[in-house]
Amino acid sequence: MNEKINYWKIFKNGIFSENPVFRLALSLCPAVAVTSGVKNGFLMGVAVLFVQTMSNITVSIIRNFIHPKVRIPSYIFIIAAWVTVTDLMMAAYARDVYKEMGLYIQLIVAFAIILSRLESFASKKNVLPSGVDGLGMGFGFLIALVLIGFVRELLGKGALWGYQFTPTKPLLIMILPTGGFFVMGLLMGFFNWINRRFFGGKASADVHMEAHRHGSH
Amino acid sequence: MLNFRGGIHPPENKWFTEEKPIVDAKLPKKVVIPLSQHTGTPCKAIVTIGQDVKKGQRIGEPNGYVSSPVHSSISGKVISIGNFPHPSGKDSPSVVIEGDDRDEWSEGIKERPDYLSLGNDELRKIVMEAGIVGLGGAAFPTHIKLSPPKEKKIETVILNGAECEPYLTSDHRIMVERPNDVFEGLKIIMKILDVTKGYIGIEDNKPDAIETMKEIASSEPGIEVVALKVKYPQGAEKQLIKAILDGEVPSGGLPMDVGVVVQNVGTAVAVYDACRYGKPLIERIITVTGRGVNEPKNLRVRIGTPFSDLLAECGGFRNDPGKVIAGGPMMGIAQTTTEIPVIKGTSGIVVLTRKETEQVEYCPCFRCGRCIDACPMGLQPSILSILIERGRYQEAKENNLFDCFECGSCAYVCPAKRPMVQFMKLGKLFLSPKKG
């Protein structure tokens, strides 16, 4: 049994204990930038999920072919290629969302989370676990984005997925940049509190610097 | 008006005693003479229990370079040598002498009407032998201040008559009552240091002292009496030098680094007494005052007299006393008991009522900046106190913590009632090499 890889564990890992946004504090820009609504957050999440999974798989497949001295540039090329694919697909098939967050879709290429997973996981593992890891990370990211989007859209617009509940916007500020930062900060603080209160855990570590270093050497 | 940066102006409260002439305190029945009454190494006792001693007899031998002998202040019998309470708050080795009421001088005491003809080294030796230390409070052995290293050229002597601590008036009374002795003392000091320029700095709230001193100074070329702005801590050496000479002693440096020696007016009188009359330092003038005593007085007191005797002489406590302070209310030390001897550095006993000393819980700093304005050393006590509160001692050190001489100006002005001096002491303690 021991030899069997626990795919569920790898998958779960990305969603909870190593949630890229709330736990690893990586790729924070999109977490604030595109989460003024659930829909945007969801689609961004899907885009990252796609890029992460595909890049993980690609790297895993050709990992023996990549020359170790130029592995970072190679990874970046691979990510950039998949991002371009996503970019073009969204431009073609999800036009109204794309107009709002096109720039951020293109910037997925610079998300530290993706590169760091390639370096720390996909480059060492087989295709299947790498894919599952990508899915897990992507899902963790997606869930975080949807959650932030949920709070912001509900408070900021009185709506969910564009469906309006209230006649007016209750707390307009929440859909502005400043509100995005507030919601991020308060949610992170809230999760830390829950974690400390009920699970006795530590606050989310400032590990992102590590990950950056890790990814770029 | 001569001034320095920072400082505060607390209520002076000098009216209790500033008009009251110095009177001799009753001869104490028993004195406790600590062997450590000065900055530096404590003395070694040279008497044994049961031994008879005379007034002015040396009972403690200096032990090292920065040290100073102590003498018996009464005649009587040594009844105990051991650890006794000391105004610094810690018990300290002391010699206890029971008086025999005869008050006889020891034989070695001899007058020297021709003292001016003595050589500098001889005079310096007299000062040392007499156990004279700075009487302003710090009690640094005077003979060391009078022996600057060769490379430091001393150009000026400043006599400190600022007496900036609230309540205290002993220096004030000395200047009014013994102005000539003060001058003679200053001249001896100037002679020893081979200096031609002397200043006497007096805070502007003692016009009578300024006037008296100026009168005498008019006939003394080279000595100038200057009025200083009434401000605490005007009497701190570095601030005094800044105010009078506009010179700043560098951080970590001494007055001699800018060619100055500062002495207290009381010390000058002691120097004169020692050189002229051969008297060792066995008595000093102190102010017993505050709303907690019945009859505030300026007293001439034998070293070693317990506070309780003096308080009784001043009519005892009144108004529910809350604090008995050895020294002034700013830098003095609160005592747990009145069974404490007067030592050479005790400039006064201030008794505050319980109401005056009510303690309030302190709050977080709210950055009003008053302490920054008040700090005479140009520090930022607010930042220092927060750094120390958070245990970041090293950063406190980088912010010049060691320039702080704990004058308490910051704590005085702090609306959040933060115990600044306590923080500073704590920080220095943690940074001192012993504690690592």
Partner: protein
Amino acid sequence: METKAEKREKQLLVSIGPHIGSEESIPRIMWAVSISLLPAFIISVYYFGLRAIAVVGVSVLSCVIFETITQKMLKKKVTISDGSAFLTGLLLGLNLPSSIPLYQPVIGSLVGIVITKHLFGGLGYNIFNPALIGRTFMLITWPRPMTTWYKPVAGITTMDAITTATPLGILKEDGIGKLIETFGDKMNLYINLFLGNRAGSLGETSVIVLLIGAAFLFYRGYITWHIPFSFVGTVMALTWIFGGKGGLFAGDPILHLLSGGLILGAFFMATDYVTAPAIRKAQIVFGIGVGALTVLIRLKGGYPEGVMFGILLMNCFSPLLDRAFKAIPFGTIKRK
């Protein structure tokens, strides 16, 4: 047996010096500032009616309540008696228009007290002025109610008053001509602005009563000239130079001095100890900075009034300024 005297001696207090302290304390300062705002509050009731009491009352009450709740939740000592929450509420209330729906100041107080103050560690640690953050939050969240002003009508009136723009609003939208026309002539304009007979936030309108309060604070030494004077001076200088339509030096500094929230901001909010620099030299730079930003926003920005944003923006720089203008330790200046 201990004698009475001995017993008493045992109770002697021991602490590290100094053994005396100044009379000043945080509550004393906070309440004094609150009192200095009292004239402004009274005049706001005169001009805007009972509604002023309701708005200020709700702000003050909710600030105090949020302070209590937060401190309880954080298991800290409840310090509402120090007056700082009261003052925050008072300043917030006086910075609001009279017609604001009453649930809105509650949210403003929540943001001011809980997020701006206590999340950052409570009194002394907040980076931004809580009342101003509360107000700005409200302005962004409810732009319409926060920019609906009523003409002051002396006496006890309510909502049947007429909406109008603030003098700065008119100045920005229609120019100075229209503004003078609204008030009759230029002298009349100045007088009305000075007395406070104009639309605006509750407490900002009457320059004279604000100056009375400020004079009290100066007298007590609770504020110094550094921030308010450099702030007001900069605003006047820059509006004089750049404020006019017909080239340089054609502006009307007096108009800019008297209108908007300049006096309220300069004397009561920019001077906030916690959020302004503590070093005097830094305070002057701070004041100049607030003034410059205020004028920039008034003349070029999207909002008619820039005092609030000016102060908040410079609040960001306070730690930097304190750092840059560190006090000079004694002994660094050589003897002359």
